[in-house]
C-alpha cells in the first residue's frame, strides 16, 4: 500500500481526532480524502510535525495524532529524545515510513537501507513503540488510542503518491479553525 491508501483506510479513525499532518503530499492527500477543521496541515517547515503535535498534546488533554514521514523524522531526529522524555499519554506519533522523500519524487531515505526508526525511537526513550505493515495500520492506531500511553507507531509501506491538488486554504484559516476544534 502507498500512503494515500493508508490514509483512506484510517480516515474514519482520524475524523474525530486532532491531527497534525506532515508537509507536502501527505497533507494534500489527507485534505483531499477527508478535510476536517481538526486537521492541522503543514504547508512548510519540514520536520516539525512531531514537535508541533507534542507541544499540543502537552498543552491540552485531547488525543493528538501526528502523521509524519520518515524523511521528516530523520531531518529532526532531536525530536525522538524530547518525545521519549516528555510525551504525555495523549500523544501518538504515526510515522508513515515509505523509505523515501515522497513529496519530492520518491528519493530513497536511509530507512530504505539500514536505518530502523522504531529502534531509534526505543533508544531515544520512547516506551511504547509499535511497528506495523501498512494493512495493519487501522487496528494499530485504534490500539494506540485505547492504550492510554504515548505511542510511536511506525507504519512500513510502499513509496508512491496520489495526485492531489495543492492546499490553497490560507494558513491563518487552517490554524484558526484548528484552534477552534482544539477548544471545542
Amino acid at each position: 500500500m502507498i500512503r494515500s491508501e493508508i490514509l483512506k483506510e484510517i480516515a474514519p479513525i482520524l475524523r474525530d481526532q486532532l491531527v497534525v499532518c506532515n508537509i507536502g503530499i501527505p497533507s494534500q492527500e489527507l485534505h483531499a480524502i477527508d478535510d476536517q477543521p481538526s486537521n492541522f496541515y503543514m504547508l512548510g517547515t519540514m520536520g516539525l510535525a512531531s514537535s508541533i503535535g507534542l507541544g499540543l498534546a502537552l498543552a491540552q488533554p485531547k488525543p493528538v495524532i501526528v502523521i509524519d514521514g520518515d524523511g521528516s523524522i530523520l531531518t529532526n531526529l532531536g525530536t525522538l529524545p524530547t518525545i521519549g522524555n516528555n510525551a504525555p499519554a495523549n500523544y501518538i506519533l504515526m510515522i508513515i515510513d515509505n523509505g523515501s522523500y515522497g513529496s519530492t519524487g520518491d528519493q530513497p531515505t536511509y530507512t530504505s537501507q539500514r536505518t530502523d526508526l522504531a529502534g531509534m525511537a526505543r533508544a531515544a526513550g520512547c516506551a511504547r513503540v509499535v511497528e506495523v505493515q501498512d494493512k495493519d495500520t487501522g487496528p494499530a492506531l485504534e490500539e494506540a488510542l485505547a492504550s492510554g500511553e504515548a505511542t510511536v507507531l511506525v507504519v512500513k509501506c510502499d513509496s508512491g503518491n496520489a495526485s492531489m491538488p495543492v492546499i490553497t486554504m490560507d494558513p491563518v484559516v487552517i490554524r484558526d479553525r484548528f484552534m477552534k476544534a482544539v477548544s471545542a
Binding site: 516539525l48 507534542l54 507541544g55 498543552a59 525530536t79 494558513p171
Partner: protein, 168 residues
Amino acid sequence: MNIDKRIADDLAANGVSFVTTVPCKQLAGVIQEIEGRDDIFHIPSNKEDEGMGLCAGAWMGGKRPAIIMQNTAIGVTINTLATLIQYYRMPLPMLISYRGELREPVACQVEMAVHTKALLAQLNIPTYHFHWQRDVEELDNILKYTFMCNKPVAILTDANFWGGYGDQ
C-alpha cells in the same frame, strides 16, 4: 535585583506557562530559575527549530509559550520563523542571549553577532536590545505586545546586561 527571577516573574505574570530552552552560558541562571518554578512548564529542546515547533503546538493548545536561546540560533530557525511562526501568525517571545557583543570573550561568537540584527530586520521581527540591567523593565510591555500582535518578537540580551564575564 535577581535578574533571572525578575524575567521568570514577568513571563509568569503574562501567562507564559510553556517555555523551551537550548542553553547558553549567559542563560544558565534564567533556565535554572524556570526549571525550578511550578507555574511554568519547562521542556528542553535539542535544537531551536524543534523548540519553535513545540511552542507553536502549545500555543494552539491554549498555552502561552516562549523560547529561550542563543543568537546563533537565528541561523538555525529562519525557515521555521518564516514558514511556521509568521506564516500561521503565531506569537512567540524569544529571549535571546546576544553573544559576540561588547564584553564577549569568545571571538567566534562575533561572527553571528554581526548578522543577528540584520537577519531579524530582514524578517521584519520586532527586536529589542537589553544592554543595561534596568532595560528589563521593558520586558513586561514586550510580552504584552507579542501576544497582542501574534508575531515572533526578539529580545536580545548582551553580556553587559547579564553583568559580563567575571573580569571582562
